[in-house]
């Protein structure tokens, strides 16, 4: 597990626990967001991501644990700094723009009157690509524009960190990718520390310096997107983060034997080997050990499902030009594989 830490971490949360009645939302949860980084908190719904946001922003007090923001203790025994003094900007799912204020009123809301409010509002609206829209009202804006106003409003008072909760989930698919790269571009250009919260793996992997995977109230792994994808701490993270095949085998003397092939392994005993579909290459082979069962063609690539004699099923992601039909005999070459001890597989 890679845990990047410096002395001026934007957020450092330790041992956070929070229950609602019988439901455990946070369970001794640790999270570090390095200064200047873009971190994504990723997890299935119902794992406490939003509770984490609410605790960090000060909308909710944890039962236990501490939170420091840029080295200042904001939550801890006897300490609970109210949200308005935390310098944590928040962009929520439905943007929560003030309906009674125009764009300039929304963006300038967190600025004191004597701070040169107008100038700052104009500047930040320009940065988010909405110059001249200050007099519009929220209901007159498109979804993507509302999104940028919410971002501008959160960033205007120059917070130490901004937290964005599922910020792209209200946009339709075509708009989504575009708005996402625009927003990330703005955040990176301004050097703002940002914590995104999402349940969308692709989104998390594509925008972040680090991804913190959360499950059942705990951070199970925090790593760079690439490390996370290829070196998950357990099969659950492995399959949550992307498509994965699992093949069982026995590992001994640095090698693991499976029906699909032999791989390097430092483990001993029963193992489960994770193979990403894109690590599988197929070769037509009349005497091959596997048979093609089905094929899903997506255009930019395709998924071909093959089955071995013992019933083991493997999915391979292939380029669009290869042609296979059900019943074809094939053999498979595996480029990369990650073995896990079988103990964890029960999860």
């Amino acid at each position: 597990m890679t845990e990047p830490r410096t002395h001026d971490d934007a957020i450092r949360a330790e041992g956070l626990s929070k229950r609602f009645g019988d439901v455990v939302a946070l369970d001794r949860c640790d999270l570090t967001v390095p200064h200047g980084a873009v971190v994504t908190l990723l997890g299935p719904s119902g794992t406490g991501k939003s509770t984490m946001l609410r605790v960090l922003a000060g909308f909710e007090n944890p039962d236990r644990g501490t939170v420091d923001i840029r080295g200042r203790r904001v939550v801890g025994p006897g300490v609970s700094v109210p949200p308005e003094q935390r310098r944590v900007g928040v962009v929520v799912q439905d943007y929560a723009l003030f309906p009674h204020l125009d764009v300039a009123g929304n963006v300038g809301y967190g600025l004191a009157r004597d701070q040169g409010r107008e100038g700052r509002v104009r500047e930040i609206l320009e940065r988010v690509g909405l110059p001249g829209l200050g007099a519009r009202f929220p209901h007159e804006l498109s979804g993507g524009q509302q999104q940028r106003v919410a971002l501008a409003r959160a960033m205007a008072p120059r917070p130490d960190v901004i937290i964005l909760d599922e910020p792209f989930s209200n946009l339709d698919d075509t708009l989504r990718t575009r708005v996402r790269s625009e927003i990330i571009g703005i955040i990176r250009a301004l050097g703002t520390t940002a914590l995104f919260i999402t349940h969308d793996q692709e989104e998390a992997l594509s925008i972040s310096d680090y991804v913190a995977v959360m499950n059942r109230g705990r951070i199970v792994q925090m790593a760079s997107p690439q490390d996370l994808y290829w070196r998950p701490v357990d099969p659950w993270v492995g399959s949550f983060i992307g498509d994965a095949n699992f093949v069982s085998g026995k590992s001994r003397g640095g090698r693991v034997e499976t029906v699909v092939g032999t791989f390097a392994s430092t483990l001993e005993g029963d193992v489960s080997v994770m193979i990403r579909p894109e690590s599988v290459r197929l070769v037509p082979d009349a005497a091959g050990p596997a048979e093609v069962r089905s094929r899903e063609f997506f255009g930019h690539d395709q998924l071909v499902t093959i089955m071995y004699g013992d019933g083991t099923v493997i999915r391979a992601r292939l380029g669009p030009e290869e042609v296979y039909a059900s019943g074809d005999r094939v053999s498979a070459k595996i480029d990369a594989a990650t073995p896990f001890p079988v103990l964890h597989w029960a999860d």
């Binding site: 719904s45 406490g48 939003s50 922003a57 909308f59 308005e84 928040v90 003030f98």
Partner: protein
């Protein structure tokens, strides 16, 4: 996720995320509902107490006759208002009738005429000295006898209540999914067949809700039936009370009446629950039904005669009496003090009740629980009880238990609070829902404290809803007759009380002065907060 902007909570952490409400909020919320609880408890006690209650000289035959009359009126008026309300709503929203919006406004305005003012207009238009009689006689036709009994009562309650059905049906008609009609037409169904088999059936929930509202109103109506001398329960309660020193029999009848209302409330609650399913707005505008020129003429005659009888005739009648009275040396200034009292008590009640609704509204929107639901239900039940029964309960209890406030303005305000709290409650809650906790939290995270957030975010957004609620309370208190009649301080005659007493003494000129004054004061708030709102 917390429930942002009224969206259903996302699965994140289930309903257990519910912070505890501050004790002070609970205390205040409970306190303002106490007045509403008093009549419910007392009337139940009166009806259910062991050993029965003194029913005075009432034979069971007489009770049956009263019940029969009340039921007859309730059923016929409810049916008539349903037909009028739906026909006017459909013609003004779903056909290409020119000036549809103006027609819709015109058929909504009769809301400012309380049924008892309508009754006054009917009385003042008929009989030997009535406007209609004199007009007919001038044309060489026989005049009209004084209107009394069932038919005039039916007419008054139908004409001046169908607008409720219109108001509740228009938004539903506007939101019906046009795809359903297109599918029906595609399946070979004609325009008119589509109307009756696809469009109208979808109105059932809205119709059920508004019909029960009208039924409840007719059941408890007091002024019009008394003035038009039709023997219903309410009239019997009042005659019984004025005729005897012992209020027992009147109270018992009032209790029975309230039980009838409770039955209707139960139905109404069910109908309302279903109605919510139909409130999603489709992306497209519904297609308009093309009227042939003959149909268009028919529609104009139909709407025109409704407006004539519900609006033009009563106002013309009262104006005529006013002018006639003034030419005989009467001056409308005599109702000045009544108008001042009405405005004073209505404004005070609107302010008090709006403020009183705030704690429960906060509890209901932010700390929803079974207990809050119970508090709200108590308020709604008393709102739906006949005002005469509520007034009588407070009167009898007041003589015995609340001596210090009995027959004071404080007592009157408390009674209005018991009767009208839900009006402002519903509005303030709707406004609070628009704020959503998300907005307040975002404000806090932008560095603004809780008071600043209240001042800069919550209040500005809730203000319009609060004003709308206050306007509704103002109008209701302005028109309220039976409870005011029973509980007002000696000499504190309001406009409705003046209309009531002058009509009963056949002083139609004085009654018309007061009625026109009442309409004039009510018309602006009705227009701004009721009529205009349904078209936005």
């Amino acid at each position: 996720m917390l429930d942002l902007a009224g969206r259903p909570p996302v699965a994140e952490v289930p309903a257990v995320r519910r912070p505890k409400a501050p004790r002070l909020l609970w205390a205040l919320g409970t306190l303002v509902v106490v007045p509403a609880l008093i009549p419910i408890v007392y009337l139940l006690y009166v009806v259910l107490q062991p050993g029965g209650f003194d029913v005075g000289g009432f034979t069971s035959a007489r009770l049956l006759e009263l019940a029969g009359n009340t039921a007859l009126l309730t059923i016929t008026v409810t049916a008539t208002t349903a037909v009028l309300g739906i026909a006017t709503a459909w013609l003004t929203t779903r056909t290409d009738l020119p000036r549809a919006r103006l027609w819709s406004t015109l058929v909504t305005i009769p809301l400012v005429i309380p049924s008892y003012v309508g009754a006054l207009a009917i009385l003042a238009a008929t009989g030997n000295s009535g406007l209609l009689t004199q007009t007919l006689q001038a044309l060489g036709l026989p005049g009209l006898p004084v209107a009394e009994g069932f038919w005039p009562s039916w007419l008054a309650l139908s004409l001046w209540n169908f607008s409720f059905v219109h108001l509740l049906t228009v938004p539903v008609l506007k939101r019906l999914d046009p795809a359903l009609e297109e599918v029906a037409r595609g399946l070979g169904s004609s325009r008119w067949k589509t109307l009756f088999t696809v469009v109208l059936p979808q109105l059932r929930p809205a119709l059920a809700a508004s019909s029960l509202l009208v039924a409840l109103y007719v059941l408890s109506e007091f002024g019009a039936v008394s003035m038009l001398r039709f023997d219903t329960f309410t009239r019997a309660v009042y005659t019984q009370w004025t005729g005897r020193l012992d209020p027992g029999p009147a109270l018992f009848l009032a209790g029975l009446l309230s039980m009838g209302a409770l039955v209707i409330i139960v139905f109404q609650q069910r109908a309302r629950g279903k109605a919510a399913l139909y409130s999603n707005r489709p992306a497209r505008k519904p297609r308009l039904h093309r009227l042939t020129s003959g149909e268009r003429m028919g529609a104009r005659i139909f709407l025109g005669s409704i407006v004539t009888f519900a609006l033009v005739v009563p106002i013309a009648t009262m104006l005529w009496w006013t002018v006639r009275g003034m030419s005989l040396g009467n001056t409308p200034l005599t109702v000045g003090p009544h108008a001042a009292r009405s405005v004073f008590i209505s404004v005070t009640a609107a302010a008090v009740i709006t403020v009183a609704a705030i704690p429960i509204a906060i509890l209901a929107v932010r700390y929803r629980s079974k207990l809050v639901y119970l508090l709200e239900s108590v308020a709604w039940v008393t709102y739906s009880l006949p005002h005469l029964a509520v007034g009588l309960a407070f009167l009898v209890l007041g003589v015995g238990m609340f001596r210090p406030v009995y027959q004071t303005l404080i007592m009157l305000i408390i009674v209005y609070l018991a009767m009208f709290l839900p009006l402002s409650l519903a509005s303030v809650e709707a406004g609070m829902r628009r704020v959503g906790p998300g907005l307040e939290e975002v404000s806090r995270s932008l560095g603004v404290g809780s008071w600043g957030t209240m001042r800069r975010v919550t209040l500005p957004i809730v203000r319009r809803s609060m004003l709308a609620g206050a306007a509704l309370v103002f109008l209701s208190v302005m028109k309220e007759l039976p409870a005011t009649l029973l509980l007002r301080p000696t000499g504190f005659d309001t406009l409705p009380v003046r209309i009531w007493s002058a009509t009963n003494e056949l002083f139609y000129t004085q009654a018309s002065f007061a009625a026109l004054g009442l309409i004039a004061v009510s018309i602006l708030p009705v227009y701004f907060f009721v009529v205009r709102d349904i078209h936005d």
